[in-house]
């Protein structure tokens, strides 16, 4: 009952808003043309910063510091649930009701296009941010149709975690650079008596966003694409099939354990830490956690392998955006500069192990000593391919998950899955 009513309320609210707009548009049609950079950043005063749950407890201290320096322009942290879908929905609800409750939004990189196209977030003056010092692929995630709609705050890239102790015992000195090398390394390692029952590789293959990430990575790492630069689907290709086939065949021959079809990030991390896996694809957050587990000192990271050479990661991370319906935008802009500054990035890298958007950190000797995975991560991010940057991202990722899952579980051949996916994506992009 409750859900139905809220849904109905959303609808009615959206509806009322649409009605208002109808009449508003009659008087000022030019306002709707949405020229980038037309926003004026005026007004100073208290604002809010909306993000998911502050699990590392590092955001509030930083905001406290800002508040101390700006007693008249205080920032309040609004914490949404830690689940990304819920965060997105609450931000959308706020936008659909044109509420000024949310000022600065902590957006997942894949939401930028959707929020920008709906004009829920303002275009930003790029010149006021040190964008040229940021990694290019990261910066791309903040743009929509060449306009800057967000500022990168943190990044993320996939890496290959591997068991150094076992590889060494099997006489392998280099981490694998290709899928074939990985499989042969596994064959060697599994000859060892204490690795007999281990599985070779796993990523995240449960039907959720993680599958989109892993599927896209496999396709990109084999030289294929999911969507091209302009968002057009081009996935029914021989290269894409090679990528998907790597996953499908690995499931069939046991390279990937069959329970990996239920793995999300955490399950796969636990399997790796419990010594069930030789290789694992995961995000940088695993590094410090695994360092405190039973396999501490027995693992290292390498760039993701691919078909003929190094693979491509999907890009993760978060950007800051400014809600179109907010007040005190001058303060908001200042806060965004503060929050995305190099100093703040250093703080988040140290305190929360968040990958910075700034290139310089990855080569900083002192930092690399502390975070040995930084050079690998930099390589991963530089070679990363962003997930499809489309307005209807929710639909696209649903289709990707649908078809990839069907192929991995064997209910469709990989060729058929890609064919259906291409058709589905074309239909959806035509419907826009």
């Amino acid at each position: 009952m409750k859900t139905r009513i809220t849904r109905a309320c959303q609808c009615s609210a959206a509806f009322a808003a649409a009605g208002l707009l109808l009449s508003a548009c009659g008087s000022s049609g030019a306002d709707g043309s949405g020229q980038t950079g037309a926003t004026s950043f005026e007004g100073r005063g208290p604002i809010t910063f909306v993000s998911g749950k502050d699990t590392t407890g590092t955001r509030q201290p930083l905001i406290d510091r800002w508040n101390k320096e700006h007693p008249k322009e205080k920032v309040t942290l609004i914490q949404l649930p830690s689940d990304a879908d819920t965060q997105r929905q609450q931000m959308i609800q706020n936008a659909e009701t044109k509420s000024d409750a949310y000022t600065v939004l902590y957006l997942d990189v894949v939401w930028t296009s959707e929020f920008a196209a709906h004009r829920w977030i303002d275009p930003l003056p790029g010149k006021q941010f040190p964008l040229d010092r940021m990694l290019k692929p990261v910066l791309e995630t903040a743009k929509y149709r060449d306009g800057l709609y967000a500022v990168p705050s943190s990044s993320d890239g996939g890496m290959l975690y591997y068991r150094t102790d076992l590889l060494k015992k099997a006489g392998i000195t280099q981490p694998p650079g290709t899928w074939a090398e990985m499989k042969s390394a596994c064959a060697e390692v599994k000859k060892l008596p204490d690795a007999k029952d281990m599985s070779c590789y796993a990523g995240q293959f449960q039907k959720y966003e993680g599958l989109t990430v892993n599927f896209s990575e496999a396709v990109n790492s084999a030289g294929g694409t999911v969507t091209d630069g302009s968002g057009k689907p081009d996935v029914d290709t021989a290269d894409a099939k090679k990528g998907l086939d790597f996953l499908v065949d690995s499931f069939k021959d046991g390279t990937i354990p069959k329970e990996a079809i239920t793995y999300q990030e955490e399950e796969s991390r636990q399997a790796f830490q419990a010594g069930k896996l030789i290789f694992l694809r995961n995000w940088p957050y695993v590094y410090s956690l695994a360092g405190k587990s039973e396999i501490a000192g027995k693992f290292a990271v390498a760039p993701l392998p691919g078909l003929d050479g190094p693979g491509s990661s999907s890009l993760g991370g978060h950007n800051l955006a400014l809600s179109s319906f907010a007040k005190n935008k001058a303060t908001a802009l200042d806060f965004m500069k503060f929050y995305t500054s190099e100093e703040t990035s250093r703080y988040f890298l140290k305190e929360a192990a968040l990958a910075p958007a700034y290139a310089a950190f990855y080569d900083d000797k002192a930092l690399v000593e502390q975070y040995p995975y930084l050079p690998v991560l930099k390589e991963s991010i530089l070679r990363a391919v962003p997930r499809p940057r489309v307005v209807q991202y929710g639909d696209v990722t649903a289709s990707l998950q649908q078809e990839a899952y069907a192929a991995l579980t064997g209910s469709k051949s990989s060729a058929q899955a890609l064919k259906d996916l291409q058709k589905d994506l074309q239909q959806k992009s035509a419907a826009q």
């Binding site: 009952m1 859900t3 139905r4 009513i5 849904r7 109905a8 309320c9 959303q10 609808c11 009615s12 959206a14 509806f15 649409a18 707009l21 109808l22 548009c25 709707g32 043309s33 949405g34 879908d85 997105r88 929905q89 959308i92 659909e96 959707e114 196209a117 709906h118 004009r119 929509y144 149709r145 449960q206 039907k207 959720y208 069959k258 329970e259 079809i261 239920t262 399950e267 307005v391 209807q392 929710g394 639909d395 649903a398 998950q401 649908q402 899952y405 579980t409 209910s411 826009q432």
Partner: protein, 346 residues
């Protein structure tokens, strides 16, 4: 609330004819004077109901006639208005997305029939146990009610751990079943979790029904030499039936709207467990409120029809009681407290 009460009256007027009809008419004439007073007293309730039930329902109906805002390819922005598409959303749901809709429809129906069936059996069993006088009865009662007190979302997480590939469910059966993957096992997982959580609800309502059955009836039966099975079948069951039916009605309506359990336990977009609510949620979360409303309206109609069928069932039963033997008349009196209790828990 309003639905459950009116039809018995109309049903009585039509079917019982003879002795009930004149009574109704006389009462109608008698209330003509005090009718205005009654209307005045009821009006606050009606106003509240109109605001929280009628208005959103009408808005959803209206909303379902509008399509999603399109993307203007020139500016790259989403248009400001939702186009009026008439019944196109419904046509799309039943045509283009028909496969998905009917799959969700059958899933919803399957879950409802199976879970409510199992819950009824287990719930009645629980109620009978809770009703017995024995040492530690309070503890057993509390224990049985715990699952009902756990929020569904939390129980979904709980069962996800149990049905994990390394979870306790697999450890117990000594086999590795991947419960949260597509397939019949996912349905089983949802049914187990749902029954675990809501059987106590039926147990609670049936217990309330059991407690008002007078002891003398059982004593009389025992003196007449009725066996325990006969006593259950011919005394307990007919007398708790009103309470049981109400409990089942509420469970059915709840189960038809099932969302959080399959969503959290098995995951979104798993076709083996996708329900109608999940389809509506999927549309709404992709900012297509028109189609989402259309799904919600269809689900509403379905729930409404089932509720109506149930009320008819209850209503028919009501008339059947009148003029029958004394046992059943007692049963009729039980109905009112049972109904009220159900309203409180709903």
């Amino acid at each position: 609330m309003a639905v459950t009460k009116t039809p018995p009256e109309t049903g009585a007027g039509r079917a019982a004819g003879g002795d009930r009809g004149p009574v109704n008419r006389r009462r109608a004439r008698a209330t003509a004077g005090s009718g205005r007073m009654a209307a005045l007293l009821v009006s606050p309730t009606l106003v509240v109901l109109a605001i929280v039930v009628l208005y959103p329902t009408l808005m959803a109906l209206n909303g379902s006639l509008y399509g999603a805002k399109g993307l203007d390819p020139k500016t790259g922005f989403i248009r400001d208005t939702e186009p009026f598409v008439g019944l196109q959303n419904y046509a799309d749901i039943l045509g283009q997305a028909g496969e998905r809709f009917w799959n969700a429809f059958w899933n919803t129906t399957f879950f409802t029939v199976v879970t409510v069936g199992l819950e009824t059996l287990i719930g009645v069993g629980m109620a009978l146990i809770m009703h017995e006088a024995f040492r530690g009865r309070g503890l057993v009662r509390a224990g049985i009610l715990v699952p009902w007190a756990v929020p569904t979302a939390i129980s979904g997480l709980l069962w996800r751990w149990i049905f994990n590939s390394d979870g306790i469910a697999n450890a117990l059966i000594g086999q590795q079943i991947l419960w949260t993957t597509e397939g019949f096992q996912a349905k089983v997982a949802v049914i187990v979790a749902e029954v675990w959580k809501t059987a106590p609800f039926i147990g609670l309502l049936v217990l309330a029904g059991l407690q008002v059955i007078p002891k003398e009836v059982y004593e009389a039966a025992r003196i007449d030499g009725a066996s325990a099975a006969r006593r259950f079948w011919h005394i307990t069951l007919p007398l708790v039936k009103p309470a049981l039916l109400v409990a089942m009605l509420f469970r059915c309506m709840d189960a038809l709207r099932m969302f959080d359990l399959p969503y959290i336990l098995v995951g979104a977009q798993k076709h083996s467990v996708e329900t109608l609510s999940m389809l509506a949620h999927h549309e709404a979360s992709n900012v297509r409120f028109g189609p989402a409303s259309a799904y919600a309206v269809l689900l509403f109609l379905y729930v409404f029809l089932i509720a109506l069928a149930f009320v008819r069932l209850l209503g028919a039963d009501l008339i059947g009681d009148v003029g029958a033997d004394t046992h059943k008349r007692k049963g009729r009196r039980l109905r009112i407290p049972a109904l009220r209790r159900a309203e409180v828990t709903s």
